[in-house]
């Protein structure tokens, strides 16, 4: 489909073109920056996972026997802060997006390579603040930092963590900016908007949220720091502030942030399902525009977090109906992915297993979101384990399964090696089953009324908590396996070749791993991204 000739005999690629620590730390190559991001977000994922293990161990019994209440509160706070701000938000954009967007648009790099490196260092500085707070004694506000608890009552290191997230936000803004400029300005000749892969569309939508939403959380946390540090009244009624104002500002970013986490995953799923069905995604334009619609409407639904927070009934009505509207583009995506398999040639490889798992879990996550958008049900369900289960279905079942699908899909491209098939399929099944065992019981707990963030709980809730903790141990093994066999494959994996999956998108038309400048010749695009009419499908999986 392109004029560039795939793998040149020269073995020079972005990994071996230069050596030494300095060649990594000062690189402008988007692929090297992506690999460094991959390493740090993986570290944060497993740290967040350790905290999750602590939560599930504690909740195996109704009494508070593992931690004291203060420690437990710090544990769930750090789980949320690390997972959301330091893993989920950067995960796919900063690793796969960074690596693939220039390759998919046929560019040598992102528009601003130095700003890309800067974003990594800003992330690192933000992470250092957060880790410093953690080592000093932690923070116990929950990742939501509700005032006036966080501004006037908490004894934790709120200011340090707040600044950590504040700083980290700039990394997100710069990444989004880089993506938008790259997608607008650096497409290869002939690469029209509707020839772009859906992964690029999803990242375009994500970038809009990153640059428009992130400044709001930065401002919000900055005001919180001012109130806590200098007693300037914004949120605490004791200083003349309004505590609910904080929630409005917090969710104005943090609800769209959910779409920062899920949209890139949706982009991955579109690519994986298309490749392993050997078929153009069904309803390409509907999937592409649904991403943009989610990004736009996502900004108008924050008030559904405040149905019991003294918000006016009529404001609640508007937020409720808009929340239903924003669900429709997600439904359209799910139906289109399913229809893509129809009349395809379906190969159940590891990335495909993860992608199909995503469809199932995201469907449940999305549908249970409808429960919470319904005002009459939300009054009973909000602040219970139903909410915890719902957002884990979206963020773990959705965002993380999409991330794992993407990592398994593009690993051969990133490192030029294949990972072993059997353990990877086992891990996909363990993650799917372990996840459901962990989080499905929490829906039942939620309807029974078990509140979130409870260290000690009434005994009638124990049975489902034990199931949940058991599931978490299976899920943990499912997450550890890829870390082992993927690392193993770096040394012992079979060479992948440029296009092991028989995909038609542009990144597979160059060598694996790609050369430092991605393509030997600037590709000229004459067709859309998914032209499977003449492709020979490889017999794998």
């Amino acid at each position: 489909m392109i004029t560039a000739t795939a793998p040149a005999k020269t073995e020079v690629n972005y990994l071996n073109c230069e050596h030494g620590l300095k060649s990594w730390l000062l690189t402008g190559d988007h692929k090297r920056i992506a690999v460094m991001y991959l390493i740090v977000v993986t570290v944060f994922f497993f740290m967040g996972g350790l905290y999750a293990a602590g939560i599930r161990l504690e909740l195996a019994t109704p009494a508070g026997d593992l931690f004291d209440s203060n420690t437990y509160n710090k544990v769930f706070t750090m789980h949320g802060v690390l997972m959301i701000f330091f893993f989920l938000i950067p995960s796919i954009p900063a690793t796969l997006g960074n690596f693939l967007i220039p390759l998919m648009v046929g560019a040598k790099d992102l528009a601003f390579p130095k700003i890309n490196l800067l974003s990594l260092y800003i992330y690192a500085v933000g992470a250092c603040f957060t880790l410093w707070a953690l080592i000093s004694g932690g923070v116990d506000t929950g990742w939501t930092f509700y005032t006036p608890f966080s501004s006037s009552y908490s004894n934790g290191y709120v200011i340090t963590v707040g600044l950590g997230i504040f700083i980290n936000g700039f990394s997100s803004i710069l990444t989004g900016l880089n993506f938008i400029v790259t997608i607008h300005r650096m497409r290869s000749p002939g690469l029209k908007w509707f020839r772009l892969p859906l992964f690029v569309w999803a990242h375009y939508a994500t970038s809009i949220i990153m640059i428009l939403g992130t400044p709001v959380i930065a401002v919000t946390l900055f005001l919180l720091v001012l109130e806590r540090g200098l007693h300037i009244g914004f949120f605490d009624p004791a200083y003349g502030g309004d505590p609910v104002l904080f929630q409005h500002m917090f969710w104005f970013y943090s609800h769209p942030a959910v779409y920062i986490m899920i949209l890139p995953s949706m982009g991955v799923i579109s690519e994986v399902i298309s490749t392993f069905s050997s078929k153009k995604p069904f309803g390409y334009t509907f999937i592409a525009f649904s991403s943009v619609a989610i990004a736009v409407f996502g900004f108008l639904v924050w008030g559904h977090h405040l149905f019991v927070a003294s918000q006016s009934t009529y404001a609640g009505l508007v937020f409720s109906i808009l929340s239903y509207i924003v669900a429709i583009p997600s439904a359209i995506k799910v139906f289109n992915w399913t229809a893509t398999m129809y009349n395809g040639r379906v190969r159940l490889t590891t990335p495909m297993l993860y992608a199909l798992g995503f469809i199932g879990l995201f469907t449940i996550g999305g549908l249970t979101g409808l429960f919470l958008a319904s005002m009459g049900l939300d009054v009973h369900l909000t602040d219970t384990y139903f909410v915890v289960a719902h957002f884990h279905y979206v963020m773990v079942g959705g965002a993380i399964l999409g991330y794992l699908a993407g990592i398994h899909f593009w690993w051969p491209k990133m490192f030029g090696v294949m990972y072993p098939e059997t353990p990877s399929k086992i891990s996909a099944w363990l993650v799917f089953l372990g996840f459901n065992l962990t989080f499905f019981p929490q829906f039942i707990l939620g309807y029974m009324g078990m509140p979130r963030r409870y260290h000690i709980y009434p005994p009638e809730f124990q049975v489902f908590n034990v199931l949940s903790s058991a599931g978490a141990s299976i899920l943990g093994i499912g997450f550890l396996l890829p870390a082992i066999y993927l690392t193993w494959s770096l040394k012992y994996g079979k060479p992948a070749g440029p296009n092991p999956w028989g995909s038609t998108t542009l990144e597979w038309q160059t060598a694996s791993p790609p050369p430092p400048t991605n393509f030997d010749v600037t590709p000229v695009i004459t067709k859309e991204a998914y032209d499977y009419s003449h492709e020979e499908v490889l017999d794998i999986g």
Binding site: G64, D140, V244, Y284, N343, R345, V346, G541
Partner: protein, 351 residues
């Protein structure tokens, strides 16, 4: 409360619980249908169209942009949209019921403080982490917090509402089943958040009267409010009798829930929030015809004291007072109980 080791579904003990459960059942059915449909299609397609070397399925051309494809796209956009509008409307109608306390509600006051619930009854009785309520009466909780945000949640009644510092919020329910049910603080409030729990006891009318009769020995809330009113010297400027008007500050008799014209020409309603603001931040809204001479009482009155003061001001408005004095309608309650077929000697606090 008798501890139970296992439960699948919460008790339904309020008039709204059945409605919420029906709505929930509808949502579960819709969700189960779509989840199973998607799961079936994914598994079926993965098998039916599995890769087989040499076999290329026929008709592999529709990519969703043909006429048939467009019809499909419209169908699977419009059907979910229609269903979700039903979900929205049904949920909104229940929420409207939940957010509007009936006029004949009996009022109870809740103050949240890390980490306990303080309950104050109009008749004077006070409780901590316990709430005794009569069956088949509409009960309105007026709530505030002394520190951070809390949330007064009773899962068996399917209701909850945030309890905010510096503001009054309300929540109402009609208990329909005698028994003891959990009260949880549902908004994270710090170290002992999970210890900020209590029990609501639903009593039949006779048991409730007996419980009330034990009393507090401190008089009703309005009486305690009057004592506080005198103690703070409010009466030096605010005459509380219609015929004893000295002009330094507005007369409080009959003011509650009535329109007040302010200095800047605007009008406001003298509700709980207005009275509270006028005591703590007197300069915020000056009544037309008066000077800004009142000192702030911020820091001198506890949230519970404020509720008592407000009750006293309310008692100066006769029609409001009679509508809300709680135990004055035993006849209706007894009738309602008979209608519901309840056993009047059902022991309190046992299920």
């Amino acid at each position: 409360m008798e501890p139970r080791s296992f439960q699948l579904f919460p008790d339904a003990a309020s008039s709204i619980a059945g409605q919420v459960d029906s709505l929930y059942a509808f949502f579960v059915l819709v969700s189960a249908f779509f989840s199973l449909l998607i799961a079936f299609l994914v598994i079926f397609f993965a098998y039916k169209f599995r890769f087989r070397p040499g076999i290329i399925p026929a008709g592999n051309t529709d990519d969703g942009h043909s006429v048939g494809g467009m019809i499909l796209e419209i169908v699977w956009s419009v059907i979910p949209l229609g269903l979700s509008m039903i979900m929205f409307a049904w949920g909104a109608s229940i929420y409207f019921t939940e957010s509007r306390p009936p006029a004949d509600s009996m009022e109870i006051f809740i103050t949240g403080k890390r980490w306990m619930w303080k309950v104050q009854h109009m008749e004077g009785a006070r409780e901590i982490n316990e709430l005794h309520v009569p069956m088949n009466r509409n009960i309105k909780l007026t709530m505030t917090s002394e520190d951070v945000i809390h949330d007064f949640s009773i899962p068996a009644f399917r209701t909850k509402a945030d309890v905010l510092p510096g503001k009054y919020t309300t929540e109402w329910f009609q208990p329909t089943k005698p028994g003891a049910y959990h009260i949880f603080c549902a908004e994270y409030c710090g170290t002992k958040h999970s210890g900020m729990v209590g029990t609501v006891y639903v009593l039949n009318q006779q048991d409730y009267q007996d419980w009330l009769a034990r009393g507090s020995g401190e008089g009703s809330m309005a009486e305690q409010g009057q004592a506080l009113f005198n103690q703070l010297g409010c009466g030096n400027c605010h005459p509380s009798l219609v015929n004893n008007y000295n002009g330094r500050a507005p007369n409080l008799a009959g003011i509650y829930n009535n329109k007040v014209t302010l200095k800047d020409g605007t009008a406001t309603r003298a509700d709980e929030a207005y009275i509270r603001e006028s005591v703590l931040f007197p300069q915020a809204k000056i009544v037309a015809g008066y000077d800004d001479i009142m000192p702030t009482f911020s820091g001198l009155i506890s949230e519970e004291g404020m509720l008592k003061l407000i009750e006293y001001v309310k008692s100066l408005s006769p029609q409001v007072n009679s509508a809300e004095s709680a135990p004055s309608k035993p006849v209706t309650d007894a009738a309602a109980e008979q209608k519901a077929g309840r056993n009047p000697v059902n022991p309190a606090g046992k299920k």
